[in-house]
Symmetry: C2
Subunit: 800 residues, 2 copies
């Protein structure tokens, strides 16, 4: 079914039908492509707004990346048909569109390439592709080998459908000058003032062939004929008909003859991508379309991906966890910090979190993003709904809806950056905003906190307004009148302000620290006065003064975020925590993780809003929203609840149980934004556990931090690296390699008869558990003994 | 291939592959559906904006109705699979999705119903549907008959895919309460303020079965399995699996067992449509889902369509023309006037023209539309870009682009209405506009003409500004700076103002008539001074003073509209006309009609704009734009060029030559908005002549007028009906039945040795050629002799 290979740096899937939507993704700073094991592909690139070069068969809506992407026969993809010229039989690799039963199938996902090996009737097809590091293009190689033991006469038909390029103008034909099929279109526009924006768009899509084919089709209808995609009529002819498309749906299909002796093979290379004109296409051909150039590009791209390989290497009893954390999680995190989800207006909270993870990989990226973000701070100290990253970018989709939580993420992102780098000088850096005013980072952060604490953001009771939404953007009707408040945002404000107080203190500003600590305390008092429901915190209070997320509610009764963050922000006392956690276990925990709230809404609740319009258990409506779960794990680590924390994080990884893999339907190479929660946790339905397949999620920075600073307990403090591992109680030992401030820490953790963590550094006992004065380039050997596990479920603070 | 049946009221197509996009359409005031012979369907209904109940397989863009609609395997459609239980063989009716080679195929398009008869391996499937008159729903019947001569065991699987209903929420399941599969979704919205707009939308789609099936599938993926649409895996099982869809792509497929003796048949009925809730679905079931209710609905709907059967019945030597004019053209015209293209903001020029055609069918509709239009007149006398027809409607798409020609269409629409009705009292009716001011229709029209003649609309030279476009909306960069002018609009202004002058005169206001005639004359003088290029009129002069549409141009050299309208408006002298027409013949005439301009643009000309981004020969870029051609024909009739006029109009009808039918790819049941013109008329390419398949077009009112008032020469004047037939020179006689002001005129036209038209009314010679004092309910028998045809090509005014 699925096997990790090459020490977890690759995964292989051995069937195209067990997990039909499973796939992988590659990206560079200008593009992204997600492919499924069956050969469907979704690619986009920036020019500067997201654009496509292979299209759906109809006029598709422009929208944000959707979870649970739907596939259908004519979905864009990359395919190759193989015909046996002796008997006319055809099959296609990797599987679509023919869907013939294959003798062998391997979908092989590496960190920097994706490959298939398919065998059918004595023919092996190896397909694979990679991306260049700095250009928008796909580099495909297709190798066909005769393993049948006899001579074979084949026709090979790579088929890269272009789809419905544009209603304004579209055509395609073989272009001998560039050596490939070139589709051309005009990006539609109607207003004259929009023309300059569309004028220089790359409206051509090329499919370049290293070797000139025998024949081709550039018109979809001619390629398919009456046979359709499963048995294209054009393949019944000796040769493709060299059709062109003239305001007809374009396609790119070519034909090669391959007469192969036994064990003989032929290899073909293709380049697929967008371009402005033929000159650019020719440049791309020269640059990439040869065996040597492919090899060089592969090496370059591998290096590029390698640069995001993270700062942590685990060897634990949990090999699946090791694989995820060592190989895939930093890669996903790197993707986020590298390309900002391929939007020009990331949501402010996403932007900060996606980039804060870069503190562990490329701290300069995190640093720059903090400066960019506060450079767009509003005059009143608040933060906008999105951060504009390109000239002419505008706030789109959800960023047009007022949300109130963006300031909260500033100290959260900053804390990680400072922990990892100790770069407190950043606080003194002056930033001139888009409005022209100049202030230091310190001042800007203080003003953001002041705004959160001000009457702009809080009501008379000291609770934080929600407007049309806050984090996990599920609700739009709680507070549109400017009255309703968010329980989560209230305790999150305390968390943010406390973090900022700590930073003030670490930055030798105790009076400011004191001021913010006092303010946070007041916030928490307000939360406890108005939001504590007896066993947990409410989610909010609506414009019409209805408190929700409480025990009286039949749906949306308990929400994870107010509980997790009340722990982090200090609102919840140990006594409250000990009431809260069993309720989370009971009401929110599923085999696929902790759902964001429960039970899911089954119909509209008009004072809560949008979340209740989602399908129950899907999207934001009571799913296992991993981002929320990651913060819950972080909160659990903060109180030493190591087993609940580990269980929560571990649920993010599909498998290794085959049933679990099939149910989730995803390779364990990324954490999706959600797994379906089903209709409720008591009666998990057919689709519970299914992956959204969407790898854009703020989860990853936080999950990675949980592993580094929680599980491994290797957390930066101003003076150095604090060592405080938090292994799950069943584990006896683990080994960790951690890069930190230019040094390497080789850490072995085992249980011992100790009362507290005992650290031996380079053979010598360490006073306390902070390695101070970390030197670049040096490798530290750290031996750690941790206390033997307490009785399962007992927390370090004594609660259960 | 194609045969007209039942006196041209039905057409049959006998192959699903020769003309794969050929189809028919049905509508009522709340919905429209276009189906192809192969079973694909595009349906929309108003709530009040256009909405769907069967969706594409992906998230589709919301856009205006596109020409040359593209189809692909998962395009929405209505299908039935048939499986032989003895050998497992399947086929589908009408043809898609299996595409099995059929033994017999008939696609039978009537004016009020659409049917198929399909035979394969001894099984006959008859499918057909109709619409209710007042509700949004499709009434489908499927009859399966064993004609194989032996007993057969079949499974019958109607398959009505629902598609990707919504990214927010979608599901489907069998609902026993209503007796069908019900898909549910939530129309997506993001802003809280949009919720009230979406809250009461009909977010359910039902597929109701009169007879409870054996089993069903409501999940697309389960229905298809790995077999795909051509051989669904679920059909390989004994029974469908009763799958539900839970945030998965919904579908509606059901299974019946049919054990049929020879010649035995079973008939099934289904109801397909949108609803708000189960109660509404149940109501629809009760109202429509029975044999009797189907029969009643069919009768009602037939009556409804019959009400639009027009005022003209032809018997001419041209049977194809007779069929179009007697049956299909008034039906298309009725569609336009009845539903305004199913938009809530029709373009003003479309609205006026679509409704003016109703003067021939239901004059009260035309009257109301004139009042509605002038009720939205701007304060300065100009007309807005679109007419808002529903509460909350806004101007969308092209209506957001400033166009300058809308006032021109007012007197054009009014003239037809007055000719047909003699209802000059309308001129005195007071209309209070949306701005609150009250004026008579006469005043409003005068102010619209004054605006056209004012310095708001014309430059110092007396030429009319074009802004971002005028009629046939092809150009957006000629005059965005407010400087560029339109050659067409200049001569069209003269036409409009002259029409208004004539109406003033007919309304006994000679001084106003005189004023406007003088103004029109000045306009024409300006046109002749600045736009006459030697052999034809230029299309315009850009912001940067570049005159285009002239002999020096390589592309867009000569445009049809300035020529046609200079004849109508009086700018062109007989000498000029005699230069112009041969150039139109030479440069613009194709076997598929007269192209709107030539040669088409092959690349962007930045001072002309959008039209040049279209595919050459397609859309507005040098296609046979029938609307423009219809006005050309009207101009030709006005100068007695009967043969050119007939040829121009005749080219709008596909066939009967099989090659022509296949090339155009359309049944002769409507006039499409364009036929492709190809890359140029000298070297017509592969796609020239192809129908856009788009039946929304201002062509129809005008073409119908050409037949009534031009070809038949039966035109209303204030005092009665003028008789002046203009048969093509090859015709010797024709017979016409014309309804006019409540009377019927039975007119026989033949050639005779007369110098001028000679009219015998009810057996007595008529002085002149106007039948005066027309009495309602009376039938007039009119015998007309017209002069023998002159030498081919010689015009009545002596030019060639």
């Amino acid at each position: 079914m699925i096997r990790p290979t090459e020490n977890g740096e690759r995964y292989e899937l051995t069937s195209p039908t067990e997990m039909p939507k499973a796939g992988g993704f590659l990206w560079n700073q200008r593009m992204m492509i997600q492919v499924t094991c069956r050969g469907f592909a979704t690619a986009q690139y920036m020019q500067p707004e997201p654009a496509k070069y292979a299209y759906a068969p109809n006029l598709e809506a422009k929208t944000f990346m959707q979870p649970e992407q739907n596939y259908y026969a004519h979905h864009p993809g990359r395919f190759v048909y193989v015909k046996d010229e002796e008997n006319g039989e055809i099959f296609s690799a990797p599987y679509e569109p023919v869907r013939a039963k294959l003798d062998r199938f391997t979908f092989d996902v590496g960190k920097s390439d994706i490959k298939w090996t398919v065998e059918k009737s004595g023919i092996r097809v190896e397909m694979g592709f990679l991306l260049p590091t700095d250009d928008v293009a796909e580099l495909w190689s297709i190798k066909v080998k005769n393993i049948s033991g006899r001579k074979r006469n084949l026709s090979i038909y790579p088929y890269f459908p272009l789809g419905y390029m544009s209603w304004m103008n579209q055509e395609a034909e073989w272009n001998a000058d560039v050596g490939g099929i070139v589709g051309s279109c005009k990006t539609p526009y109607q207003k004259a003032e929009d023309y300059p924006k569309t004028k220089f768009l790359k409206d051509k899509t090329y499919f370049l062939c290293e070797t000139t084919p025998v024949a081709w089709e550039a018109k979809q209808e001619t390629f398919e004929g009456e046979g359709g995609l499963q048995a294209p009529s054009s393949l019944k002819e000796e040769q493709l008909s060299n059709s062109d498309a003239r305001y007809e749906t374009p396609t790119a299909a070519v034909q090669y003859w391959a007469d192969l002796e036994n064990n003989e093979s032929k290899e073909y290379r293709f380049l697929f991508g967008p371009a402005y004109d033929d000159a650019e296409i020719l440049d791309m051909r020269k640059k990439y379309l040869s065996k040597m150039a492919f090899a060089r590009a592969a090496k370059d791209y591998e290096n590029y991906i390698q640069r995001g390989s993270g700062c942590l290497r685990l060897e634990t009893p949990d090999k699946d966890l090791d694989n995820l954390v060592n190989n895939w999680l930093p890669r996903q995190l790197y993707y986020h910090g590298d390309v900002n989800r391929l939007t020009t207006d990331p949501q402010t909270r996403n932007y900060l979190q996606d980039n804060m993870g870069m503190s562990f990989i490329k701290p300069e990226v995190a640093r720059k993003s903090i400066l960019t973000a506060v450079g767009q701070q509003e005059k009143n100290g608040s933060m906008p709904d999105g951060i504009l990253l390109a000239k002419g970018a505008v706030l789109k989709y959800i960023n047009q809806i007022p949300h109130t939580d963006h300031c909260v993420w500033l100290p959260i992102a900053l804390e990680i950056y400072l922990s990892e780098t100790g770069d407190y000088a950043l606080l003194d850096k002056e930033v001139t905003s888009m409005y022209g005013d100049t202030q230091t980072v310190f001042e800007r952060f203080s003003r953001a906190m002041d705004w959160l604490l001000s009457s702009n953001a809080r009501d008379d009771r000291g609770l934080s307004y929600i407007a049309q939404g806050d984090w996990c953007d599920p609700m739009n009707m709680v507070g549109p009148k400017g009255v309703g408040v968010s329980g989560w945002l209230t305790v999150a404000t305390a968390y943010a302000v406390n973090l900022w107080a700590q930073i003030c203190e670490d930055a030798n500003n105790p009076s400011m620290a004191n001021k913010y600590r006092t303010a946070a305390k007041q916030v928490n008092e307000s939360a406890n006065e108005h939001l504590w429901d007896g066993d947990w915190y409410a989610r909010g209070i609506t414009d019409d003064n209805v408190t929700f997320g409480i025990s009286d509610d039949k749906e949306g009764r308990i929400w994870l975020n107010p509980q997790a963050w009340s722990i982090l922000g200090g609102a919840a006392s140990p006594a409250q925590i000990s009431k809260m956690l069993p309720q989370v276990d009971k009401q929110l925990s599923t085999p696929y993780g902790v759902v964001m709230f429960g039970p899911p809404y089954r119909s509209m609740r008009e004072d809560v809003g949008r979340v209740t319009q989602k399908y129950p258990g899907q999207g934001e409506n009571g799913s296992v929203y991993n981002h929320a779960a990651a913060f819950y794990a972080w909160a659990l680590y903060s109180i030493g609840d190591v087993d609940r924390a580990y269980t929560t994080l571990r649920a993010m990884i599909p498998g290794p149980d085959p049933d679990d893999l099939v149910r989730r339907g995803q390779l364990p190479i990324f954490i999706p934004n959600y797994y379906r929660g089903g209709h409720g946790i008591e009666n998990l339905d057919r689709t519970a556990g299914r992956s959204s397949q969407l790898f854009n999620t703020g989860t990853v920075s936080w999950a990675y931090r949980c592993f580094i600073e929680g599980l491994c307990g290797l957390r930066g403090v101003r003076e150095g690296l604090q060592v405080d591992p938090k292994m799950p109680s069943e584990w006896q030992d683990m080994r960790v390699r951690r890069e930190f401030r230019g040094a390497v820490f080789d850490v072995r953790v085992k249980r011992g008869d100790v009362e507290a963590v005992k650290v031996v550094l380079d053979g010598e006992g360490l006073e306390g558990n902070v390695v101070k004065g970390v030197q670049e380039w040096r490798t530290y050997v750290v031996e750690v003994e941790v206390p033997r596990a307490k009785k399962n479920g007992e927390l370090s603070n004594g609660t259960k």
